[in-house]
């Protein structure tokens, strides 16, 4: 069983929801990223999404754009991210790791080369923001051949036919984008999220996580019961940005806040 599947199965058995946390590899440097990954897991993160920096992160709000820029200033590459996972796996063989990014850096390495290296390094899935099902033949083939999950996005604008199409080519989990906008954006409408997630769940058994605009205990509580998990990105990246020496403390407190909110009745 894949790490992602095992994680959702365990959580379901314990009647718990998944806390998925995002940070950009190399922001502000690789060593900090490794430390933060360990801190996040120790405080309750269930799945780690590692952002792979790109010069033109079209779907990101200002917070995550700057994080990509900081990582690129350090010349962080996709290879560095794979090496980072090898380091992380020396101590943690359980927590799923998903690479989230834009197609071009992955294509530059090559779909098959990347997927085979990723699988050997201990990566569990990939989510390429600008790769709709119509353009994913190479990565579909390469992820299947290397036992990686291919995670896809569903948006508020996605209709039922398209939800079907997206789900049929997905594994691991579905990432539901709670609002029309970029990462770190405004508030979402809970009613709208609820009805859309319901329609996704009527179509697929793949776990659904909700992301975009979830930043604190209140926003966690407002959506946690609608799906199998939530994703928090910008709120954590903000702490890394203001960071200096207290990054680890701040992130640690934030994760505690979010994971205890997830456990609340």
């Amino acid at each position: 069983m894949s790490r992602i599947k095992a994680t959702f199965t365990n959580l379901r058995d314990q009647k718990k929801k998944a806390l998925v946390t995002y940070l950009v590899v190399g922001d502000p440097d690789i060593k900090t990223t490794l430390d933060l990954m360990e801190v996040m897991v120790s405080k309750g993160a269930d799945i780690l999404e590692l952002g792979i920096s790109f010069s033109d992160p079209m779907a990101e709000g200002p917070t995550i754009q700057r994080a990509h820029e900081r990582a690129l200033e350090n010349k962080t590459t996709l290879s560095d991210a794979l090496d980072l996972v090898i380091q992380f796996r020396k101590k943690d063989s359980v927590t799923p790791i998903v690479f989230m990014g834009y197609m071009n850096p992955f294509e530059a390495m090559g779909a098959e080369d990347f997927c085979s290296r990723a699988s050997k390094s201990g990566v569990d899935g990939i989510l390429l923001v600008d790769m709709p099902p119509e353009e994913s033949q190479d990565f579909t083939k390469a992820t299947l051949a290397n036992d990686l999950d291919l995670i896809r996005l569903i948006a508020p604008t996605t209709d039922e036919n398209r939800i079907r199409k997206i789900c049929s080519g997905s594994s691991g989990y579905i990432y539901y984008i709670s609002l029309k906008g970029v990462t770190g954006a405004r508030q979402f409408d809970v009613k709208e999220v609820e009805s859309k997630v319901k329609s996704i769940k009527s179509i697929t058994d793949i776990p659904v996580v909700i992301g975009f605009g979830i930043k604190d205990a209140d926003s966690v509580i407002s959506v946690k019961d609608l799906a199998e998990g939530i994703v928090v990105g910008s709120a954590l990246v903000d702490l890394i940005a203001e960071g200096k020496n207290q990054i680890s403390d701040k992130v640690s407190k934030k994760i505690e806040e979010l994971s205890s909110a997830l456990l609340r009745e």
Binding site: F54, S55, D56, P57, M58, A59, E60, G61, P62, Q65, R66, E69, L72, T77, L78, Y102, M103, N104, P105, F106, E107, A108, M109, V129, D130, M131, P132, E134, E135, R152, L153, I154, A155, P156, T157, T158, D159, R162, I166, I177, K180, G181, V182, A185
Partner: protein, 401 residues
């Protein structure tokens, strides 16, 4: 002859390998809807008449095909004709596209217009049509470009547009396009995004090409009137490639006519400081399309350089990528210095001051015309006028205006 026209882009929005729709899921339905509406309306007689009336009375079409007699004599070879897009309202070919797209936007019931701009020509062309139709308009422009094109920034503001300075990435056209996409994804219900080049996700490369094709269509008729046959060679500068596609497209199936696109050589190909992805780039994905890109080994988009802001773009329209691979068109470079020299030469010898973008095409004609036969004809798309570049040229000359 018209058969091939309808095949490309194919139903997936591809020109061979290139093009497509590489965007976040939120935008897919909007692009599908845009494609559907466009395919319907482009066949609609009333819509065609509306566009054509606007091109005539608002833009001032047809633009003349001008025989550059003194320049031809100086070059000593082929006859050189200039397609005078510089005479259009707002000073460049860009208005052909915005006139068409804003009618499409209105037809689709959109209430707000956004655009990206590099040199500011597309921004001005968009702000103008938005003013004319009474729609609010937001233009995204890189901070770097705002500094070097302050005249166009002020023009846009006078036209009632809000110009938003983009400070991410390289602070140029590519980043302005990222920011416009972010706006669109956020306001997708009521906003129409007028892309300014034959770039971006499908169906934009097709839409922008179609609205610019009026240039090539006119050249067909005017060639017969002026010199009684088809031209032998067509030359245009290529940044994103909309003026070149507009000129080339109606001639694509007339295989004996040579098509030459001229990219920005900047400080020279070997310097790496240029904006010539078709000459020195690699296939990749940016701004929703697969095309040739300036990128490093790790797949990060590289900073580009050109004397002309309008060519300063690391990608190129996917149809050009396809025309290059199939060999139907040839893509060459002219560097900053050659462009500047051609800019001055045309100004002095014909009394026509071209845009620095156009000057790249002129620079290439200086190289090929002398060795061609006297009865052969070159048509150059003079994509825009040089007024906007006066500050840039003065600065290079060390003159403080």
């Amino acid at each position: 002859m018209t058969k091939e026209k309808r095949i490309l882009p194919d139903s997936n929005g591809k020109f061979g390998l290139y093009g497509g729709r590489y965007v976040a899921e939120t935008l897919i339905p909007a692009l599908e809807e845009l494609d559907k509406q466009y395919q319907l309306i482009k066949l609609d007689k009333a819509f065609q008449q509306e566009v054509s009336k606007d091109l005539q009375t608002y833009v001032g079409r047809p633009s003349p095909l001008y025989f550059a007699k003194r320049w031809t004599k100086k070059l000593g070879g082929a006859k050189v004709f200039l397609k005078r897009e510089d005479l259009n309202h707002t000073g460049a070919h860009k208005i052909n596209n915005t006139v068409g797209q804003i009618l499409l936007a209105k037809h689709m019931g959109k209430k707000r217009i956004i655009a990206e701009t590099g040199a500011g020509q597309h921004g001005v062309a968009t702000a103008s049509v938005a003013a004319r139709h009474g729609l609010p308009c937001v233009v995204y422009m890189g901070e770097e470009d705002i500094n070097r094109q302050s005249l166009n920034v002020f023009r846009m503001k006078l036209l009632g547009a809000e110009v938003i300075s983009v400070t991410s990435g390289t602070k140029t056209l590519k980043d302005a396009m990222n920011e416009a996409m972010r706006d669109w994804v956020t306001n997708v219900d009521d906003t129409y995004y007028i892309i300014g080049s034959v770039a971006g996700p499908h169906p934009y490369p097709e839409i922008v090409r179609d609205f610019n094709s009026v240039v090539g269509e006119e050249v067909i008729t005017q060639s017969f009137e002026e010199f009684g046959k088809d031209p032998d060679v067509l030359v245009a500068c290529v940044g994103g490639g909309s003026n070149a596609m507009g000129l080339f497209y109606p001639f694509i199936n007339t295989k004996n006519i040579k098509l030459i696109g001229v990219e920005a050589g900047g400080l020279g190909l070997e310097s790496g400081k240029h904006a010539a992805p078709l000459n020195d780039g690699k296939e990749g994905i940016l701004h929703g399309m697969r095309t040739y890109l300036m990128q490093d080994e790790a797949g990060q988009i590289k900073e580009t350089h050109s004397i002309s802001a309008g060519l300063d773009y690391p990608g190129v329209g996917p149809e050009h990528a396809w025309l290059k691979d199939t060999g139907r068109a040839e893509y060459v470079v002219a560097d900053d210095e050659e462009a500047l020299e051609a800019f001055k030469e045309l100004t002095l010898i014909e009394g026509i001051m071209p845009a620095l973008e156009t000057a790249h095409a002129l620079a290439h004609v200086k190289k090929i015309a002398p060795s061609m036969k006297k009865d052969e004809v070159i048509v150059i798309n003079v994509s825009g006028r040089g007024d906007k570049d006066i500050n840039t040229v003065a600065k290079i000359e060390g003159i403080n205006l």
